[in-house]
Structure formats: structure tokens, C-alpha cells
């Protein structure tokens, strides 16, 4: 219910605010008239504080990715307001939005699907720079190589095709592409879900590094609460299209108010405590 998510003006103005966002999808079977209306996001109200990591958690199908695509300006919500840095961008025209896009970038879950398989790694990073005319032709390659170094990709990866890289390297490439335009908000849609633990921790460290270096704000979408617990400052819980809980991580995880949050936490905690019990050296 919207009632549970009252938000007050934070001491430091938030980078992005969403008020009452609705997004529905309409499906129709080819031979019938009946339409199925899928309410992906219902009356979502959310705030993304500056230079902090806000996590969006919930089960699969709760509407997290739909919300993410609306926030990334990749889709138009049906109704509601989106505010970015004191501007109501949901009322903007396409041309105005074009100037905003470099500031909000997204990293997807499936890196193999999100990167052009025919471009080399360097070309993938150069593409947004070229489109946005951020660098002259000779500078493009230098910028791309610098970014690759920043995310921990060795220079000899620059000519390789994305499918020849490992999963972790691909995600680094996707991150490099995302920060090429110096965004302010980075949306990570389950970007770490399919990675090995070892790689996951390395990418996590990279993300924390990048955040402090570039003053980034993160929206981390994940179903993995243990991961969220490691990195998030604030947590929003989504269930059936609505935000049911939202607050500092310690509060949401320490004293969850909604049944859905409690359930998610219970499962994640039981896995962790099993492991802890298994590793505890008996006195």
C-alpha cells in the first residue's frame, strides 16, 4: 500500500525521486479479444539519495526490472512523476530527455546479450562516446583504453569480441561502457546475479571503488539479499508491483515490518546461518 511508504524531504536532496509511478503491460492473445493487463508497477514512490547505494529487492516478477527501465528512461511510465535533480523529467520531451540520458546509465544482468557481439571490446566502449560526441576520433581509442584499465580489463582484451571473454570480464566491459559518459546514476539490474562468488566480490569491490572515485549513485536491483547486505546503504522492498518497505539497510533488515520482507530475509538468513554453523570451529 502506498500508505506504508511516506517519504520526507531528506537533509541532502535526493538525486532521483519517483512519485506514484504506474506501469502496466497489456497482452492479447492473437485470436481473442480479451486483454490481460499486467500491473508491473503500482503507485511506486521511491527516493535515491545522492552518492549512496540504494538496493531494490523482491522476488522474481515483483516488477523490479520494469521499474528500472522506467527510471533509466528506457520506457515511458503510464503515470506518475519522475524527478531528477529538481527537474520533473517525466514531463520532458524526447529532445530534452536526450540530454539527460548520459547521466543515467544501466548495466544489465545478461552481459552476453547486452553487448554487441560483433563489436570488439574497445568499440563497445567507444560507441557511446562517439554517439554523444564526447571525444574526437583519435581520442576515442585512448579514452576506451583508459576506461578498460580503470575497470580492470587488460589492454589486450580491447580487440577481442565479447563472447570470447569470461562472464566477469564481460560485466567489467559493460560497466566500463556505462561509466564512459560520466553518469551520475548507475542502475545495476541483477548485474551480479550470475557471477561466481569470487568474481562477484571482485566486481563489488570495483563498484565501490568507482563510486567513491566518480561520485556515483547506485540503484542495485538484486534478489540476493546477502549481496545487498554487503553493499547497500538503503533498501526498498518490492512486492507485486508495490514498494512495501523502504529505509536504511539496517532498519529494513534489522526490523522488517512487512511480511514479504521478513520472508525474504528468513530464507537468505537460513542459508547464511547454515554456513556459519558449518564453519564454526567447535570449542
Amino acid at each position: 500500500m502506498a500508505a506504508e511508504t511516506g517519504i520526507r524531504h531528506a537533509p541532502q536532496p535526493a538525486l532521483m525521486r519517483v512519485i506514484g509511478l504506474n506501469k502496466t503491460y497489456v497482452q492479447r492473445r492473437p485470436f481473442s479479444r480479451k486483454e490481460f493487463v499486467l500491473g508491473a508497477c503500482k503507485d511506486v514512490t521511491l527516493e535515491l539519495p545522492r552518492r549512496r547505494v540504494t538496493a531494490l529487492v523482491g522476488e522474481s516478477g515483483s516488477g523490479k526490472s520494469s521499474l528500472a527501465t522506467c527510471l533509466a528512461l528506457l520506457q515511458q511510465p503510464d503515470s506518475g512523476e519522475i524527478w531528477f535533480e529538481e527537474d520533473q523529467v517525466s514531463a520532458w520531451t524526447a529532445e530534452q530527455l536526450a540530454s539527460l540520458r548520459p547521466k543515467i546509465q544501466m548495466v544489465f544482468q545478461d552481459s552476453a546479450g547486452a553487448l554487441n557481439p560483433r563489436f570488439s571490446a574497445a568499440q563497445i566502449i567507444e560507441e557511446p562516446l562517439e554517439i554523444q560526441r564526447r571525444a574526437s576520433k583519435p581520442e576515442l581509442r585512448l579514452r576506451a583504453l583508459a576506461l578498460m584499465e580503470e575497470v580492470g580489463l587488460s589492454a589486450d582484451c580491447s580487440k577481442r569480441l565479447p563472447l570470447t571473454l569470461s562472464g566477469g570480464q564481460r560485466q567489467r566491459l559493460a560497466i566500463a561502457r556505462a561509466i564512459a559518459l560520466k553518469p551520475e546514476l548507475l542502475i545495476l539490474d541483477e548485474s551480479l546475479s550470475s557471477l561466481d562468488l569470487v568474481i562477484q566480490s571482485e566486481i563489488l569491490r570495483l563498484l565501490v571503488d568507482l563510486q567513491s572515485r566518480h561520485n556515483l549513485t547506485y540503484l542495485l536491483i538484486s534478489h540476493d539479499l546477502s549481496l545487498v547486505g554487503e553493499i547497500a546503504d538503503f533498501v526498498a522492498v518490492m512486492h507485486a508491483g508495490r514498494i512495501v518497505e523502504h529505509g536504511p539497510r539496517e532498519k529494513v533488515f534489522g526490523a522488517p515490518r512487512h511480511g514479504c520482507t521478513r520472508e525474504l530475509l528468513a530464507f537468505a538468513r537460513s542459508l547464511e546461518s547454515d554456513f556459519q554453523a558449518a564453519t564454526e570451529v567447535q570449542a
Binding site: A2, R8, P11, T45, R52, L225, L271, E272, D274
Partner: protein
């Protein structure tokens, strides 16, 4: 009648269900780069063994090599004995009889392991039909029973559904039902819970435990996440770059890991949810965020 005294050694002399020794596999021409290097592994009947390793450690190669599903390799040495029978070099027809019926394999991404244009129930019946000649009605009953055993509350509806009509959790159970429909002796599960949320992961682990308990199915559980093995495995084998770097009872490995790689892996498991945050951190965070008030949407502007 003269009875032989029961030999206390005879029980240990039972051959293990699966015995891999000296397995070395290389794909690339030249046979230089070894995907697997001298692997030794044993699984007893009804045992659950966890294989810990990252991508590239050779665990998927190991999983595929046991039922003989690898493409032609440059080098394939060593022996894989299932119930005392050497699997390497068996004719394909014999291997096919073993696959599915005695050794079952579950891949990553279960949703992709089902044909999208066939009903789920017929895909399960097909597996049973591949190994036993049964009348159609009985096949269907067995498939439905398999779905019910896998914990689906409405097996009839699922039987008639197509994969895209089912949720992620239901698909997982369907794939497990399919793998265990013929009651195999050994189930090889290669990262069956990757990308699943905690609830589905727990469900899968519980299902595996239940099948192990009920039908004495041995399980080779391959994963990169040690936390999943804590609840399931009795023995753990740690793999790195194609070699076994450590192995032993799960309790010992998790409590006193010897090899630095194992120690590194175990340290990386997130434990964030069960560590309590200090009170000062909480108040600091609240001050940043602003405390909550009950419901009021305040207009923003300035």
C-alpha cells in the same frame, strides 16, 4: 550348514557407486591445456558429494564426462567406473541406457533445458519411455507422479503446460522431476541454482535432500557457492584449474580448510545478514536518509 563368518572388511570392499581415477581431459589441439588433470573422485551409494569450484575449474567438464556427453576430445585418459563397470569406451547404446536411468544430469538454467514447443508432461514421459516400455497411460501416470514427488501441488495442470506458462520455481521442479523420473542411482547437478533467489535455492536443496533420503539417490552437487553445500553435502571436493586441491568431509573442510584456495573461497561467502549492525551506524544512516513518518506524500520542489 557351515556359514562363513561375516567379514568386517567385506562392507568396505563394496565398490563405490562412482569411481573416477586419473581422469585427464584436454580439448585444445596439442593437448597442452588440460581441462581436467588427474582427477580422482569416489562417490558411495546414497552419498551427497559437493564439488566446489569456479567457472573454468573444470567442473562442467567433469559433469559432462561422467555420462559420456563430451564432444570429441584431444586427450581423454583415466577411468570412470560406475558400479564397477568402466564407462569409457562403452558403445553408445549402452551409454544411452545408463543416461537418464542410472545417471541423470541437471544443467544450469533449467528453464532452457525443456523444449519450448512441447508440453512439459510429455517431455517427462519421453524420458521414462526412453528406458522402459510402458503403455501410454502408465507413462502418463508415472510422469504425473514424478511431478507430484517434486513438490508441485497441482501436477495435472503442470503436466499439460508449456514451459513458458510456468513460473521459474515450477520450471525448476519440473526439471528435477524429469531427471529423477527413472530413479537414477546418481544425480549430477551442475550449478542448478545459479541466478535463483534464496527461496528457490532452499527449495531445490530441500528437494535434493528429500530424494536422497527417500530413494537413496547419490548426488554430485557442483557449485561455486560453499553456502549451498553446508546444508546438503557430506563430503566436499574443491577444484581449481582442473585439479582437486582439497577433499574431505564437509565439516572438516569448512572448519579447517587447509588449502589457501579453499580458505579464500570460504572467506568470500557473504555473511552480511546475520551480523548485527552497531547502533551508531544505524542512527548515522537514519540521519542521512531522514526518519520515516507515516503516510504523507510531500510535494517536491525546491
Amino acid at each position: 550348514m557351515h556359514r562363513l563368518p561375516s567379514n568386517p572388511m567385506s562392507r568396505d570392499a563394496l565398490p563405490p557407486l562412482l569411481a573416477i581415477s586419473g581422469l585427464s581431459i584436454a580439448y585444445a589441439p596439442g593437448g597442452q591445456f588440460l581441462a581436467l588433470d588427474g582427477i580422482n573422485l569416489e562417490i558411495a551409494a546414497g552419498e551427497i558429494v559437493g564439488v566446489l569450484g569456479e567457472s573454468g575449474s573444470g567442473k562442467s567438464t567433469l559433469a559432462l564426462s561422467i555420462p559420456g556427453l563430451l564432444p570429441a576430445c584431444e586427450r581423454f585418459e583415466g577411468s570412470i567406473k560406475f558400479r564397477g563397470e568402466e564407462l569409457r569406451g562403452l558403445p553408445e547404446s549402452r551409454l544411452r541406457a545408463i543416461r537418464g536411468a542410472k545417471i541423470a544430469l541437471i544443467h544450469q538454467e533449467p528453464g532452457l533445458c525443456l523444449s519450448p514447443v512441447m508440453r512439459v508432461g510429455s517431455q517427462i514421459s519421453d524420458v521414462i519411455r526412453a528406458h522402459r516400455r510402458l503403455p501410454r497411460k502408465e507413462l502418463r501416470q508415472k510422469a504425473e507422479a514424478a511431478l507430484a514427488e517434486a513438490g508441485l501441488p497441482d501436477p495435472l495442470r503442470v503436466y499439460h503446460s508449456y514451459p513458458h506458462q510456468l513460473s521459474g520455481g515450477e520450471l525448476n521442479r519440473v526439471v528435477i522431476a524429469q531427471a529423477l523420473a527413472c530413479r537414477p542411482d546418481l544425480l549430477i547437478a551442475d550449478e542448478p541454482t545459479r541466478s535463483l533467489d534464496a527461496r528457490l535455492q532452499t527449495e531445490v536443496l530441500n528437494l535434493f535432500r528429500e530424494f536422497n533420503r527417500k530413494f537413496n539417490t547419490a548426488i554430485l552437487f557442483i557449485t561455486h557457492n560453499p553456502a549451498l553445500l553446508a546444508r546438503l553435502a557430506s563430503r566436499v571436493v574443491v577444484m581449481h584449474s582442473g585439479r582437486v586441491v582439497e577433499e574431505g568431509p564437509m565439516a572438516r573442510i569448512f572448519r579447517q580448510p587447509q588449502h589457501p584456495y579453499t580458505q579464500h573461497l570460504l572467506r568470500l561467502v557473504p555473511q552480511s545478514l546475520i551480523c548485527k549492525a552497531t547502533a551508531s551506524e544505524t542512527t548515522k544512516r537514519e540521519a542521512e536518509f531522514g526518519t520515516f513518518e507515516t503516510p504523507r506524500k510531500v510535494a517536491y520542489g525546491g
